[in-house]
Symmetry: C2
C-alpha cells in the first residue's frame, strides 16, 4: 500500500521495528503534535507573536476588563508559574497586556489585555481560524470524534 511512503517507521528510519502498537502510537503522537504546532506557529509568526503569547491574549480577551491573576492564566495554559511570569514580561513589553496589583489581595497581580492587544487579536482572528481548521481540515467529522475520544482517554486514563 502507498501508505508505506509516509509511515512512522519510514519517517524514523528505525532499524528496529517498534515493540508494541502503543509504543509506535506514542511516537506518532509526538511527531504529529510537532507538525501541527509548527504549522500554527508559522501562521502566527508574520504577526510577530508566538503561539504561547497568542494563547495568553486569547485567554485575557475572554476575561474582559477585570483581567485575571497570573496563576489563573498559568492554569488555563498547561504551564508552570515561572513560564507565565516571563511570558507576561515579554507580552507586556510589547504593550499587549498590562499588570496591576490587586487591591484586595496584594499578593495577586491582575493581568488584562490592552486595546493594542485586542486590535492584534482582531487582525489575527481570521487567519488563525483558517489555520486551525486547515491543520485538521482533511479529517472527517467521524474521525475527529474518535480522535477526541481516544485522546481524552489518553489524558485521563481510567483509574
Amino acid at each position: 500500500m502507498s501508505n508505506d511512503e509516509h509511515s512512522i517507521l519510514h519517517e524514523i528510519r528505525q532499524a528496529q521495528p517498534f515493540s508494541t502498537p502503543a509504543q509506535e502510537a506514542t511516537v506518532a503522537l509526538m511527531r504529529t503534535a510537532d507538525v501541527v504546532r509548527r504549522r500554527i506557529a508559522a501562521t502566527m509568526e508574520p504577526f510577530g507573536i508566538t503561539t504561547q503569547q497568542y494563547n495568553v491574549l486569547r485567554i485575557l480577551r475572554g476575561a474582559g476588563e477585570g483581567g485575571l491573576p497570573t496563576l489563573e492564566i498559568a492554569q488555563r495554559m498547561i504551564e508552570e508559574a515561572p513560564g507565565i511570569t516571563r511570558l507576561l514580561d515579554r507580552i507586556e513589553k510589547k504593550g499587549w497586556v498590562k499588570r496591576r496589583r490587586c487591591a484586595e489581595d496584594r499578593r495577586q497581580v491582575l493581568v488584562s489585555i490592552t486595546p493594542e492587544g485586542l486590535a492584534l487579536l482582531a487582525a489575527m482572528d481570521e487567519a488563525v481560524l483558517a489555520a486551525d481548521n486547515g491543520a485538521l481540515g482533511s479529517i472527517s467529522d467521524a474521525d475527529l470524534r474518535v480522535l477526541m475520544r481516544v485522546m481524552d482517554r489518553i489524558r485521563n486514563p481510567p483509574a
Copy 2:
C-alpha cells in the same frame, strides 16, 4: 455524562466555545501530546537523561559502529540542525557519544554511541518500554489503529 469532568472545554475554561471541531481537536492534540511527553520524561529523568537525548542514543544504537553524520540524526528527529549540534554537545560531554571528522567528506561529523551510552540504554530499556506502553496502554488496539491512521493523515494531508 461524567465526561464533562475532564473535557477539553472544562480544562481550558474558555469563555467562548470552539468555533469548529477541527479547532477543538487541534487544541486537544497539543495538550494530549504535552501530557504524554511529560509522563515519558518523568520515567527518563531518574537516569539523568532527557527524552531528546534518549532519542539520539536510540538512533545511534540502531546505526551501529560507523555512526551517523550530524544532519542525518537531525532528520530522524524532526529537528533543525542547530538544535542537534547543541544536543550532541551535551551528550558528548556526558560521555555517551563521540564525534569524529569523516575522512571522505571532511565537512561531515560522524557521531557514534559509546559503550557507556549503550550501557545506559540497556539499563533503561525495560523502564522505557513499560512507560511507552503505559502512556497509551489503556487504548484498545482498534482505537490505536484508528488513531494512527488519522494522525498519519494529519501529518501528510492529501494534496
